[in-house]
Symmetry: C2
């Protein structure tokens, strides 16, 4: 994708802890290429970024970490994908703060596949994990790669379901890709590397720092067309991901639960704020316009309904009041009212202002 020189320059810049994505984007705008940024002197850099950042870039990264990063790249499973690459995920370009550099282990083509984020609590219930796995498997079969954060609980179940389905799964992690966190998900991480992908914006060697995980969440939502929250407490990382999703203009979906479960309170808050309540993967597939379900086979045709219901012959497709309908059909007002209500509930009849009724299909 990139020349060795360019890749090396990206790796160097990725290892400068003081350099924010925004700062790097500003430098690239001013100095055109990552090689240009690496070659610039401190004074030149300091015209674009604060002086302590310029100093850190001019000083360059720890040589041992740079060596390790170059060795890591020698493994054909590993790659870096940069803002300058065609392989950079299209949806991520739309977020306010796209990382200039992504470390990828596994299949980088998955990064631009239609995808859905599925997230939730580390301390999920058994039912919550089972729901996450089932939704993710069905969504993966429905054409969506499942993106999550490799945490215990809902995340792990979401990855497992995504991997079983047809469209695999991607973990966006909060450490360097040479570290697996949490260690209990080591087997899952290996499966993702072989059948899916792992992605990080953090330099190789970056340990699990609490502060990096919320920041990582913007990529979980940013890579996906929508975000499903399965179980989440109030003030949880999952709600941060959902908030990012909303800011990024992604659909947010939430699974409801008991009003007495603290792990449903986050989902309920999201629904109150406008997230879509979902009961099945079908709800999501329909919302995203990918429904494979053919509704026409489940709705009886107008003729079939008419055969079953004597009222409909008298009703016709024009507005009519109850008295006239009773005259025409010979039914009593009570019977006709009850039948109209049933038909209303079935979506066959619509109640109009002024006490009139109209058949709508």
């Amino acid at each position: 994708m990139s020349s060795d020189q360019e890749t090396l320059a990206w790796l160097r810049l990725g290892l400068i802890a003081e350099l924010t994505p925004t700062g790097l984007r500003k430098l690239l705008a001013a100095l055109t290429t990552p090689e240009g940024v690496c070659a610039a002197d401190r004074a030149t850099l300091a015209r674009v970024v604060p002086d302590h950042v310029a100093a850190a870039i001019a000083r360059g990264p720890d040589p041992e970490r740079l060596d390790a990063a170059q060795r890591w790249l020698e493994d054909p499973a590993n790659q870096v994908v940069t803002l300058a690459d065609n392989a950079y995920p299209r949806l991520l370009l739309e977020i306010p703060d796209p990382p200039p550099l992504l470390y990828v282990k596994g299949n980088p083509a998955l990064l631009d596949h239609a995808s859905l984020a599925v997230v939730g609590s580390r301390n999920a219930t058994q039912q919550g994990r089972s729901n996450a796995e089932a939704f993710s498997r069905e969504l993966s079969d429905g054409g969506f790669t499942i993106i999550s954060g490799l945490a215990l609980g809902i995340d792990a179940a979401a990855h497992a379901g995504g991997l079983v389905g047809l469209s695999s799964s991607i973990a966006v992690v909060g450490t360097g890709l040479d570290i697996v966190y949490p260690a209990r998900n080591r087997d899952l991480a290996h499966r993702l590397a072989e059948e899916g992908a792992l992605v990080s914006e953090f330099a190789l060697g970056t340990p699990a720092l609490a502060s990096n995980f919320p920041r990582r969440n913007r990529l979980i939502s940013g890579l996906a067309s929508g975000c499903l929250v399965v179980e989440a407490a109030l003030k949880s990382g999952s709600l941060i991901t959902a908030r990012y999703a909303l800011e990024q203009g992604r659909e947010v979906f939430a699974v409801p639960g008991s009003i007495h479960s603290s792990l449903s309170k986050g989902c309920h808050l999201l629904i109150k704020q406008g997230a879509k309540l979902v009961e099945s993967s079908q709800d999501i597939l329909e919302e995203l316009g990918a429904a494979v379900h053919d509704r026409s086979t489940t709705i009886a045709s107008a003729d079939e309904i008419a055969l079953d219901n004597p009222l409909l012959a008298a009703l016709g497709f024009d507005p009519i009041d109850l008295d006239t309908l009773c005259q025409r059909s010979g039914l009593t007002p009570d019977t006709a009212s009850a039948m109209l209500l049933t038909l209303e509930l079935e979506g066959v009849v619509s109640r109009l202002p002024g006490g009139k009724f109209q058949r709508v299909r």
Copy 2:
């Protein structure tokens, strides 16, 4: 409220099964008073309503039922309230099909009290009944009379909760008021008659007919400012009530539950269609503008927050980007990002387009 002659005329007309509320309103518009309608001949009546209805009115009601209705009215607990009375419930005048005549047992003043409908399944779960009772007790304490349908399950729990609270409860029933249906709720009906009220639009002696219950539901929603559905299956009577509430411009509230419970599917459907998900009576009281909870005591003042958080001193109330904030505060980008996210989640800091942040309180 009315003269004896007028009351007798209303009672007579209420006993004509063929006469719909719409038909009676048309006749009153044409002939001014119920006495005028009763005195009119068949030909006059037939200019306004279909001939078979005119014939039934001219024939008059079964004398035995009329006698029974007059005897029922002799009990001081019993009354009829008509469209012509000041005591007729104001909210009911707004619905498309207000009943011309209401039979009332108990305290008629409750009919014009602020009220909420609480409805749900007859086959409710223990948890659902417990929720209905708790919501209703708290809403009754919060100033809302609880309206429901005297059915087993959620309805009975709602009445019980409403009666315990400060604002009592009203049952709108689907039979004549001289009949208690279901018989298992006889004790509850007696408590409602003594401490609350029972209301029906159906003539005395009207037995429990399946067709009358859905029609009755429009009065449950129509008498109330909003409708709470606690547990409901798809295609249930509770959904008919909720649909009436929407048509009547009332707020609809629904309690969520497990996606695997058939008794939550009706509530979830309503939420998908725009009903408000509620987790507590407070949610409803706040929505209806009757919140007694003083939020100002639970939100820390700006000064208290600033003392706890070094970032806020550097942040100020103007938009600022992360690099500048790090320069000012001496914090690393990672630490500052994590702190900003926490503050965002607490509603203290807002993220602006272009990667800037602003303190909002």
